[in-house]
Amino acid sequence: MPPSEHELRLRERLGRLRSLPLLGGARISGELERLQRQIARIGEEATDEEIWRKVELARHDDRPYTLDYVERLLDDWFELHGDRALGDDGAMIAGLGKLEGRTVVLVGQQKGRDIHERASRRFGMPNPEGYRKAWHAMELADRHGFPVISLVDTPGAYPGVVAEQHGQGAAIARSQAVMARLTVPAVACVIGEGGSGGAIALALADRVLMQENAIYSVISPEGCAAILWRDAGQAKKAAAAFRPDAVHCLELGVVDEIVPEPHGGAHIDHDMAARLLGHALRESLAELDGIPGDDLRRRRRARFRSLGVFA
């Protein structure tokens, strides 16, 4: 498809976007402009090939993980461990740190870098203990007025027998409920795989960002393909159908902003990726500064309550 046709479709979408109820509620017109600029920056809608390339990049073995950003963005990092009930889930990180001199609580799923760490961190798929650890940390943030930053990077919550026994579904629900109650600013960013319920558990935030090559989806391409065509190999086709890429999520109003990555992807240059992410996080936090807690909470809920398309 020639670029001009893409451009046309994009403009048309943006036009639709303006009138859709999903942009009602808390969103203000200034944001539409930013959104427009962002779409213009990204330039054109991704082809099926490009979408699949993003799926690959989002899962790239060398992609920076939560702790890679922690290391580069936060001073005085102090990791909190344990859910005060049952365990300490390596698939979830929670802690306190200084972001440019300001204390924040950071939570996020953590994938492993080597074979051993991958197993111990369960490939970034949290158990209920992990979500409980995260909400414990977020409640600490709320008590002390610290903003919450959440970095989302998970194929999904862990589908284990014990995870189910310990209430995986309820843990994800409760984690969202805790975020819906926060009276401190919360900014989420999808930094890799934003896989389904396991991801949304950490993403009920005031601002939801998404890195350029991250994906965010209701189901993995493989899972979708397995259900629709009984063939996980059709993942590429599935990804093309539901388009988990950042531009599409931005167009739908699911994310508020796309965070640029270094040319070629975040894995090429972790330091640069961290600088770009840090800039976006600080900008988002600055926008939320000074808004009273009750207002934050009301707008945050309204933002999510406005999502959906129906007639």
Binding site: R59, F123, P155, G156, A157, P159, G160, V161, A163, E164, Q165, H166, G167, Q168, G169, A170, I172, A173, R174, Q176, A177, A180, R181, G195, S196, G197, G198, I200, A201, A203, L204, Y216, V218, I219, S220, E222, G223, C224, I227, L228, W229, A232, A241, F242, R243, P244, H248, C249, L252, V254, R300, R301, A302, F304, R305, L307, G308, V309, F310, A311
Partner: protein, 278 residues
């Protein structure tokens, strides 16, 4: 490690289909339609709970003539232009034809033994009870209606999870309904949840588990990931009652298992306890 996500199973069948929908999959007793209707779709031989459609469910719970349906005009859009084996729009039309419902959730005002409440009942027959934008919106409106009227919301769930065909917007119905439930809670009104077989994926991971009181029907499957997915990923042998109501009760996840014939008196009692208006 497979990259298969696990929160969504939108198959229309909660379990391997029995030879005939009126044959009990547990003891193989066979019933006529009117027999099942009389027994509230509970097998009189073994107590198996057959799936129950939304409208008979409502009729079985509320005082005769007391139900006023709300938000009947909401229909799903097709934001992705989604096409798998068939277009999503075609699936929707087919589901509407088959069930007589506009989507997988029916909401409205009702009274149970003289106590008023808001009611939200899912129907698994509509695309596996999957939660898309319409289910999310209606559940949210039900929360608001209960909050405004100062009465509890009773939600009866039966769902395979988020509706894949609406993509990421389906996932957004999780935080949407959670936010609505928190608004309801802030208003000081209760959410009473009843999970029917099956309540899995995105519905379990949002409003269904946030009830002030959480009930389940006997043997209802209530797992975030489906048994097939768990089996596939962990390669473990699953316990016999994997994800079932009984296991959930044992592990402290729910308050009580209530057989269908006791559901109306139980909800009535809870409405009295939560001071629902008369």
């Amino acid at each position: 490690m497979a990259k298969i996500d696990v929160s969504v199973e939108t198959d229309d069948q909660p379990s391997p289909p029995p030879s005939h929908p009126n044959t009990c999959p547990s003891c193989h007793s066979h019933y006529r339609d009117d027999e099942l209707e009389r027994s509230l779709w509970v097998c009189e031989q073994c107590g198996h709970h057959f799936p129950m459609r939304a409208r008979p469910r409502i009729a079985s719970l509320v005082d005769p003539g007391s139900f006023t349906e709300e938000a009947t005009d909401l229909h799903s859009e097709d934001p992705l232009g989604f096409f798998d084996l068939r277009p999503y729009t075609e699936r929707l039309a087919e589901a509407e034809m088959k069930t007589g419902l506009a989507d997988a959730l029916v909401i409205g005002r009702a009274a149970i033994e003289g106590r008023q409440c808001e009611l939200a009942v899912m129907d698994f027959a509509f695309m596996g009870g999957s939660m898309g934008s319409v289910v999310g919106e209606k559940l949210s409106r039900a929360c608001d209606a209960a909050a405004e009227a100062g009465m509890p919301l009773i939600a009866v769930t039966s769902s395979g999870g988020a509706r894949m065909q609406e993509g990421i917007l389906a996932l957004m119905q999780l935080p949407k309904t959670v936010a609505a439930v928190e608004d309801l809670h802030d208003s000081g009104n209760a959410l009473l949840c009843v999970m029917a077989h099956p309540t899995t994926g995105g519905v379990l991971a949002s409003f269904a588990t946030l009830g002030d009181v959480v009930l389940a029907e006997p043997n209802a499957l209530m797992s975030f990931a489906g048994p097939r997915v768990v089996q596939e990923i962990t390669r473990e042998k699953l316990p016999d009652d994997f994800g079932r109501a009984e296991q959930n009760l044992r592990y402290g996840q729910i308050d009580a298992i209530v057989p269908r014939p006791e559901l109306r008196p139980t909800l009535s009692r809870l409405l009295r306890l939560f001071d629902a208006p008369e």
